[in-house]
Subunit: 152 residues, 2 copies
């Protein structure tokens, strides 16, 4: 029986580049880099080999206990391009709750984070803005302004 | 400042087909379908229009408060194909913690869920198996056998 979410796996081209991005975003490494090379990984994921580097990142003290499982594949190597648009089928973006979206956006922009829009947009009960990680993965920031309700 | 994860957005081709899959998997709808058509969505996501249907799903009583934001885009329509392999760059898969992975896998297989491998695989401290949703999105089930440690 499914009990809860546990993590979201992001496959990246270069682990160090992506770690720097997610640290700048405000996450911390909660499990250091491991290099794994196991047949069980290849069997589980139906890949030719199961050789990768992985680490875990999460917002400091986040109550959800969720984490990002950040993976750079070595064999087979990480490949391809992230979804180019929000209407592309698949796990399209990962959303974080932030405390003050205007201050957060300004601070992150100073740290070199790039956003899709100039300002946060009001959609139903939230104000939201999207950033892209070094591989172009969409990362959404949200500030909840009213009670819970549907939002993209 | 980032406080926590809030949701993972899955863009799907057909909302009803995907709802049935995630309900069979054991999630429940926690926010019913809304149809939104807002310029702010187009501005936030840099799409030509901001017309979509959306609902929220989560494991019943999940402590994390995370949810899946399941979206079918109408204008522009949902398009493309989900990442075909675990080493494809992007948000590659979403992982759930389960209580008894053998029993869960057997029960889900009876409900028509398709898995990548015949049996759960042991990788470090976890036993894990991957399923695919109706669009081919990878959904991972994990049972934690030992203390926390790196896992793909």
């Amino acid at each position: 029986m499914i009990e809860d979410f546990q993590h979201v796996c992001i496959t990246c081209r270069d682990l160090e580049t992506s770690i720097r991005f997610y640290e700048r975003l405000g996450l911390e490494v909660i499990e250091p880099v491991s290099e794994l090379n196991e047949e069980a990984i290849a069997r589980a994921f139906q890949t030719a080999r199961g050789h990768l580097k992985v680490l875990h990142l999460a917002p400091p003290g986040a109550p959800s206990k969720m984490f990002i499982d950040l993976v750079q594949w070595l064999e087979p190597a990480s490949m391809g391009e992230a979804y180019p648009a929000a209407n592309h089928i698949g796990i399209n973006h990962l959303a974080f709750r932030v405390s003050d979206i205007d201050a957060t956006t300004a601070a992150l922009r100073e740290r070199g984070i790039r956003f899709l829009s100039e300002e946060p947009q009001s959609i139903g009960p939230v104000r939201t803005i999207l950033a892209t990680d070094p591989d172009g993965v969409f990362v959404q920031l949200l500030e909840w302004v009213q009670g819970p309700q549907a939002t993209a």
